[in-house]
Amino acid sequence: MTATGTVTGGALTVRGLSKAFGGVRAVDDASVEFKPGRINAIIGPNGSGKTTFFNCVTGMIRADRGTVTLDGRDVSRATPDRIARLGLGRSFQVCRVFPRMTVMENMLVGVRSTAADLWRRADDEESLERARGWLRRVGIDHLEHSEARNISYGQQKLLELAGVLMAEPRIVMLDEPAGGVNPALIGRISALVRELNAEGRTFIVVEHNMDLVMSLSDHVVVFDRGRPIAEGAPAEVQTDPRVLEAYLGV
């Protein structure tokens, strides 16, 4: 298999999700449906619960209440690695790669493996080829042998995305893909997201860069005080009075 190929499925439904840290209700009875094949964006003011929502959905934090359904399967209580294996990949707000591994090794971590395959060589020809395909697609295949800590931040960002894709997700959740990245690279990342989406992958993107959100996404969900207050096409959301109030306090 190469670094393309279409993907089907990728529906994510969240119902009544709540998570409190002490007295602070970071996510408060949030219900959102992400339809397959869309590029969804989550926006909202700082502290509106976007990242906590993200972490609850991916299993990194256990929610107090609520259900998360991934392609019809309840994953509310599943561990993060199980959720990942069921087809939900994610990036981190502050880009995370394995610093002391080479770029190629970073990619090989994401190789799907059955119990019988665990003793197979990590760098078998098939995995190497697939990894090179993804590295080529994001444009860092020449860095294969570099240690991840020695490549630039932008390159690490691309590596993180390639690594997520290596694990064959149907849904890709990106936490601030444009954070700390120069305009040329933002353009490259958004072009990639569009391509990958055209192959059937669902995207859920948390982002502060409004230009990017408006140009990239099909569907925007606006968070405020831990729950979605509005959703719809980018143009609709932009003029929604509730959104203006949440953002500008008018």
Binding site: T2, T4, T58, M60, T79, P80, D81, R82, A84, R85, G89, F92, R96, F98, P99, R100, M101, E105, L108, V109, G110, V111, R112, S113, L118, W119, R120, R121, A122, D123, E125, L128, E129, R132, G133, R136, R137, G139, D141, L143, S146, E147, N150, I151, S152, Y153, G154, Q155, G163, V164, A167, G180, V181, N182, A184, R188, A191, R194, E195, A198
Partner: protein, 383 residues
């Protein structure tokens, strides 16, 4: 649409790159680095195998056995510490359990010492798994403390449960080989230890290059990130922990049969656990032969200081100093430090892609090579 052009662009260089790392590997004789590696390995094997034949001095032979015992323990420790980065200071627990398991199995059931030797490490694994299930829920300093607590618990049990363990007076272990002279006894165990060590190294090597091992190393680097990529981290850590306990327990079982007398204070000592950590760190925890090299250096040092200064605490001071020196000057261990030294003379790697002007004009090359507003590592930094 875009995809079509994307795939054709990607297809062209694919063929030449398929060769990749492995297929393009030059033959052994023309690859100086591999040649040095293989040469060192053969030399090490010869020295290790020939050593017992060159002497009949009991003390030297027993020192050889002691060092191999350290090497087996440290290599066993490195299944956990090296792959996952979980530092256990309490691995003496499995060493002690292996030793007591052999002694009690022979003593209580009357089974053959060889059967007991085969069963003891499995007994250790059975005990280690529930301990691992509990201990591996915490990371960092908490994990270290849990492992230490377990040794101390076992020490108390071994001292108090006199009807089973012989209590503080210890336990005599029946001899496995009847009628051997002292030097022959040392020689036989020397070679048994070598075989066990080779087995441990083989398993470590196999894991190191496997998918399972890649998952473990990802845990060492960033556990949450590994989980987010689908690595079943808990299960992986538990399996590594079980292998680690197995080989450390095997060392304990062999030790019991060799030494013949168990004292709980020695079997379940924090110091023994600390030695394993020191040896592995000294040699290099990411290296197959790191713990072995560390065991040779530290083991010889301990024996030297004991011989030179008698039964004082001086060897503790000396090993403490050694640890400080390693941490200060070779934080990665001796093997990576030496390798790094050699790498300076080798060809340099660069993260800058070279392209011709034509390629740029053709647009076959559109990677943003220099795109870093924040570049922690620095663009194009040469390693």
């Amino acid at each position: 649409m875009r995809n079509a052009s994307e795939t054709t662009r990607a297809a062209a260089p694919a063929a030449e790159r398929t060769a990749g790392n492995r297929a393009a590997r030059p033959p052994l004789l023309r690859d100086p680095r591999r040649l040095v590696g293989v040469g060192l390995l053969v030399a090490l094997a010869v020295v290790v195998l020939v050593f017992p034949m060159t002497t009949s001095v009991g003390y030297l032979l027993s020192t050889g056995v002691v060092i191999l015992n350290y090497a087996l323990m440290a290599t066993g420790w490195n299944f956990m510490g090296g792959f996952t980065g979980y530092i256990s200071l309490g691995h003496a627990a499995y060493f002690g359990l292996g030793a007591y398991a052999v002694a009690i199995l022979i003593d209580r059931t009357g089974m053959s010492p060889f059967l007991a030797l085969a069963l003891a490490p499995l007994v250790v694994v059975v005990i280690a798994i529930p301990v691992g299930v509990a201990a591996l829920r915490v990371r960092g300093a908490s994990f270290v403390i849990v492992t230490i607590a377990f040794v101390l618990i076992l020490l108390l049990v071994a001292q108090s449960w006199a009807s089973l363990t012989g209590g503080s007076t210890g336990l005599m272990v029946p001899r496995a080989f009847q009628g051997l002279m002292r030097t022959e006894h040392h020689q036989v165990f020397y070679y048994i230890y070598v075989a066990a060590l080779v087995l441990a190294l083989l398993v470590w090597w196999r894991i190191d290059r496997s998918r399972f091992g890649m998952g473990l190393k990802a845990v060492r680097e960033d556990e949450d990130k590994a989980r987010a990529l689908g690595v079943p981290t808990f299960r992986a850590k538990l399996i590594a922990f079980a292998w680690s306990a197995f080989f450390t327990g095997l060392a304990g079982a062999l030790y019991a049969l060799w030494f013949g007398d168990l004292d709980p204070v020695f079997q379940f000592s924090i110091l023994m656990g600390a030695y394993m950590v020191l040896m592995a760190l000294l040699g290099g925890v990411r290296e197959l032969f790191g713990p072995l090299l560390g065991a040779i250096v530290v083991g010889l040092a301990i024996e030297f200081f004991k011989a030179e200064f008698g039964d004082t605490q001086f060897h503790l001071v000396a090993t403490g100093l050694l640890l400080a020196l390693v941490v200060l000057f070779m934080p990665e261990g001796v093997i990576p430090a030496v390798k790094g030294l050699f790498a300076r003379f080798g060809p340099q790697a660069s993260s800058i892609r070279e392209v011709s002007a034509q390629q740029l004009l053709d647009g076959t090359q559109d990677a943003p090579d220099d795109d870093a507003p924040v570049a922690p590592g620095g663009v194009g930094r040469v390693r």
